[in-house]
Symmetry: C2
Subunit: 469 residues, 2 copies
Amino acid sequence: MNAIPQSEAVRRAPEAMLAALRDRFGDRFSVAEAVRLQHGRDESPYPPMPPEAVVHVLDTPEIAWVAQLCNQYHVPLIPYGAGSSLEGHVLAVHGGICLNVSKMNHVLAVNTDDMTATVQAGVTRKQLNEELKSTGLFFPVDPGADATLGGMSATRASGTNAVRYGTMRENVLELKVVTADGRIVHTGTRASKSSAGYDLTRLFVGSEGTLGIIAEVTVRLYPQPEAVSAAVCNFPTLEDAVQSVIEVIQMGIPVARVEFMDLAAVRATNAYSKLQLRESPLLLFEFHGSPQGVQEQAQAMQQITAQHGGMDFEWAERPEDRSRLWTARHHALFAGLQLRPGCRASTTDVCVPISQLAHCVSETARDLDRASFPYTIVGHVGDGNFHVLMLLDPDSASEWDESQQLNRRLVARALEHGGTCTGEHGIGLHKMEFMQAEHGPEALALMRTLKHAFDPHNILNPGKVIPAA
Amino acid sequence: MNAIPQSEAVRRAPEAMLAALRDRFGDRFSVAEAVRLQHGRDESPYPPMPPEAVVHVLDTPEIAWVAQLCNQYHVPLIPYGAGSSLEGHVLAVHGGICLNVSKMNHVLAVNTDDMTATVQAGVTRKQLNEELKSTGLFFPVDPGADATLGGMSATRASGTNAVRYGTMRENVLELKVVTADGRIVHTGTRASKSSAGYDLTRLFVGSEGTLGIIAEVTVRLYPQPEAVSAAVCNFPTLEDAVQSVIEVIQMGIPVARVEFMDLAAVRATNAYSKLQLRESPLLLFEFHGSPQGVQEQAQAMQQITAQHGGMDFEWAERPEDRSRLWTARHHALFAGLQLRPGCRASTTDVCVPISQLAHCVSETARDLDRASFPYTIVGHVGDGNFHVLMLLDPDSASEWDESQQLNRRLVARALEHGGTCTGEHGIGLHKMEFMQAEHGPEALALMRTLKHAFDPHNILNPGKVIPAA
């Protein structure tokens, strides 16, 4: 029912290769079914496709060793971090070896003067922020899951803070990457800018393990803001909420976070996170700056929301209240799942120019209101990015088909208005069908040229990102 | 005396090809010596290397037509905008056709709601800002010269505003690019973020005409700040000035511009721009924001500068005073040239992590104090980027050699401290010798792989960026 695009058969690893891996990695190598199954699935709606074997690596030279071996035997190699992909990135659609980097979890360097940190690929965003606590600095990029920095780089992830601090595209300074043939490449510089040659860093960021395997990442950090203030504002309608955001962005108010939740998402969050949010469409705001600056931003914002029927701001002044609010927002996916026990979720991820946001969200809501399954809409609306969580009966082929038709109409709407099929989740398996429509045949051909030049035997996470020609 | 690296002979265009160009372009095609000479030089210290012919194109399909022809005959194709390169980008080191895009000077679309503009490659930054005047928006990237947006994209340019608004890397959203074989490729999206496949936009930005020819550019715009305030602060020593900047950046004060000038640069600027700046090392600041925010930033800044011997801030409150100040800063190169009439200039461009800036600038100044020619130092110090302008006797081989040795020591110092050989000017001819030291042999090999994949006949601005293997 949810067929996975498959252009070539599974490529099996020869026994000699598996023996070499077993020899080198001992009990960090496994072909046990439970281990393989666990590494063959993620948070996407696809059924598991287990790899042939799993290797836990401890450092970059080990990744290089495995890559050389896979390249020699033309066997697929699939990097695996936290397994929190929503798009089937880690599924072994052509078989091969799963390379688990979660034991590469050391923060290698924190440079407080330059506000940078260098971490191994398996460090998660929460772990990094925990280790930064005493420095007065923080790392802002925050997808819902506690993803690894390697995975976040590979999918060009973002989250609630991107409207102020940017995505992984803006926040990765340097990478250590292993190529298909096992070379270890350093890209970028810790300087804040450079015009020295091709931007390999930005090329690997967002390449989803298909051009190289990210082993180490140097990211920008930011000073903890002097003052932080968060607030909730309810609106009579979805349109009022979204229109407020558009004006905030167009005014250049440097809001740190502005998140939208529709009525269903608010209800689900109240139930799941034990909150008492007023049940109507709402915006969650956060302001960062000096005490005065934060106050000024909040005032400007209130003037705008008041013009769109925004009710009083409810302030979360204490850190623990803010933390509760944002944790609840990060759990919106899990909260949504509870609306239909036993369901599985399919999530959309379009992002459009801000001027098109109100139109796209409203049309999408109208389209969804005719659907035969429940849904919620949440969004990083300051970036023009919103998600529909479609809650499907796992045994219903017709609901799956209906959800995919809805997503196709949603993506078509986004592309027609100058947007993208994915703001932050990546292409994986799920969005390959949109690559040609979004980029056009010429750009897609260039991407194929790149893929072939960097990975001539197509061993790096094959069957993802670039659709079969 | 200033040998140009030359790994292969000049490739001459066959008569049939020149005839085809003449047929198609009429008087927009020229082989006149004066025209060729004018297109064979830029602001770099190299003697001219004229192309074999010059074509003025009017639109993207014309670029594609010329590219196809050059690719068919394996003849070099060199894009040319304002000719303001400092690194020899437009010199026809292997002969070929110069493609002048300066008549492609139309602003194609301004979207005020989304704050984006789409321009042809030949539009200059001043022209764009002139056309934006009535919209309340502006485009912040400002190299010294009135460069074209195509050239600025191709060199990943920045300028005085980058500390607040980013460089071309952050501000280009979409490109239309012509490939070596004459395909027209659209890259990117007007959405503020996307995770849809390989970042071709960032790959072409900074590729200096060697991977494709930039024909159209969509850039981000910003609201004119509500309040702007500029000030000059003098310091007893260079170190005091630089140390102040480091603390400003580390405190996270969102200064819009912070520029350093050494004593010699201040004197030159006073003479050239008829200003009465106090003659000691100084910082030029600009603050953007709300009236209160600007005041707050200025106060925070004054506290820091006072701790480093900073003298009183001299405010430039009126727009015309600010404009005079910044025009003077943009003319620092030309002002410097007047310090030694008849000289030619060689400019350096290192950029280092902010923590290394004081050390690198001081060591460089000490090194330069032993030089046999005059120099000035100016810098976009908020980014860790500074330039030495070395004023050389055009007839002295020993001064040239001395200046290049100084630059080599400067680059080695920058690289040793985690920096880059070029913050904003690009590699061109002049910095190819540093590519391996900066990136390492593995990353350089990947760049070669890229170049070969995108331009198998090596027709796109050959002999630039990537040193011969």
